[in-house]
Amino acid sequence: MKTLREFIVDHDVRRRAQACYQCGVCVGGCPVGRWREDFNPRRIVEMIVRDELEELVGSEAIWLCSACFTCLDRCPQKIEVTELITHVKNVAARLGNVPEGELKKARIIVKEGWAGLPVGRTLKQRAALHLPELDQDEELADLKELMKAMKQEGVLHRERSSPEKEKNVRD
């Protein structure tokens, strides 16, 4: 498990944020920031530059990013704000700061290989519309094997964050 600092270095996060001159265009265009003052992409980039990472990865608001990429499209410095926030969320998830709803959805993908499976009613509707039959027992065997192989590194399989691992990430 990488430490927070290693993660930031690996992903070149700080250097990619450095070019920000805090114009706030990202905030102006943000579909979430319009409603929630606590979600502020400009401030998130500032916190990365100023090394206020622990506060950042502990914040609930980072999960509000809808990943629409408007901030990246509008940024005069072409800073990949959405990607930077994604990296921050990756670290936050490892620290156990992750909304239960997000975890639940991802676990279905890990378990089933799909984000959702068609229920009986949908299968009937498909038949009525003369759509091809779905093979519900589709192989996906090597996908499930792959998910198992990645188990050690990811946060997706872990039931709860353990304090020991959290410590490791924070160091």
């Binding site: 979430v32 509000l64 959405t82 709803g101 959805k105 993908i109 984000a115 509707q125 003369h130 091809p132």
Partner: protein, 314 residues
């Protein structure tokens, strides 16, 4: 076999919740002479926001596995979903640009005897319809023009963003798909804050805010005089069609805006009947609107109603 041949990648949402969307897409491809092949052994793309936010390495690896499976067919992939399109394009971009990512992903894939295959061609159906078919050709094929229908178009973020990567339409004011809608005979109305996100992706984080974002969009669309919304992404469809009643209750205002998938309107204009498209599966009054406007009146003309849906056994 015609000029176009694609592997169809419907994605989880359409496969599990919106059979009518898949139906309309298959009808449209069939009518346009696009050969569609079925795929096997691929699951979720995987989902480009939540999954990527939780663990980008897993997201990237699963995407690379899908690309490895799909590359074997030696045929481009057609997605029906902005989310799948985003995952394919973003992951391909990251993997082709970054040696470390490739090495990491390949280390995982080696455990199942696979490796990342570069260069898989992936198209979004709406982009395909604009770039490869085009409004002029579409207009020639229309037998039941959508006269009297005023629609507002919502592109959804990941059809057009990030522009630097996708380079399709102006993300601040996407108008290319609107040209297709006009070719069908519909009127397209503009509305304020057109480029804003539908809010679907944060449903699992803050449901109230997600609904508020969707409601604001629909309110602006309604005020613009549109009778219906047109989308090209199942997540936006879920938000606007399925969740609309919840928004109405929550914010105490009636919206009553039917929501269509682009392919449904094309199929109708090409002469397909609303019944065979399953328009009644919408939560909003899509079918009623089509009937009220008499949009199918030209449909039974010679040959137009004889439909052979690709790959069904009729």
């Amino acid at each position: 076999m015609g000029e176009w041949s694609y592997n169809l990648y419907t994605g989880c949402l359409i496969r599990s919740r919106f059979p009518h969307v898949e139906k309309s897409a298959r009808v449209v491809f069939d009518r346009l002479g696009v050969e569609i092949r079925e795929i096997a052994n691929v699951g979720c793309c995987p989902e480009p926001v939540g999954m990527r936010s939780l663990d980008e390495e897993v997201w990237l690896t699963v995407a690379a596995r899908n690309m490895s499976v799909l590359s074997a067919a030696n045929r481009p992939v057609m997605t029906l979903c902005n989310g799948c399109y985003s995952t394919f394009r973003e992951s391909e971009h990251l993997l082709s640009a970054n040696k470390e990512y490739r090495e990491t992903v390949n280390r995982h894939l080696a455990s199942i005897g696979r490796e990342y295959a570069a260069g898989l061609e992936v198209d979004h159906f709406a982009r395909f319809l604009y770039e490869k078919i085009g409004p002029a050709r579409l207009k020639e094929l229309v037998v039941a023009p959508l006269r009297g229908l005023n629609v507002a178009f919502h592109a959804g973020c990941h059809l057009v963003r990030p522009f630097e990567l996708l380079a399709f339409d102006d993300p601040e004011n996407p108008t290319k798909i609107e040209e297709l809608l006009r070719a069908l005979g519909a009127e397209v109305v503009d509305y304020p804050r057109k480029s804003l996100c539908c809010g679907f992706t944060i449903m699992g984080v803050d449901a109230d805010l997600s609904l508020k974002m969707g409601f604001e969009k629909l309110k602006n669309i309604k005020a613009s005089g549109a009778q219906a919304v047109v989308v090209v992404c199942p997540a936006c469809l879920q938000q606007f069609d399925v969740n609309q009643r919840q928004m109405e209750r929550k914010f105490g205002a009636k919206l009553g805006l039917p929501v269509f998938y682009l392919t449904e309107l094309i199929a109708l204009a090409l002469g397909e009947s609303p019944e065979s498209l399953g328009l009644d599966l919408h939560r909003t009054e899509a079918l009623s609107l089509v009937q009220a406007l008499g949009l199918t009146r030209a449909a039974p003309s010679a040959g137009a109603s004889r439909v052979t849906v690709g790959l069904t056994r009729e």
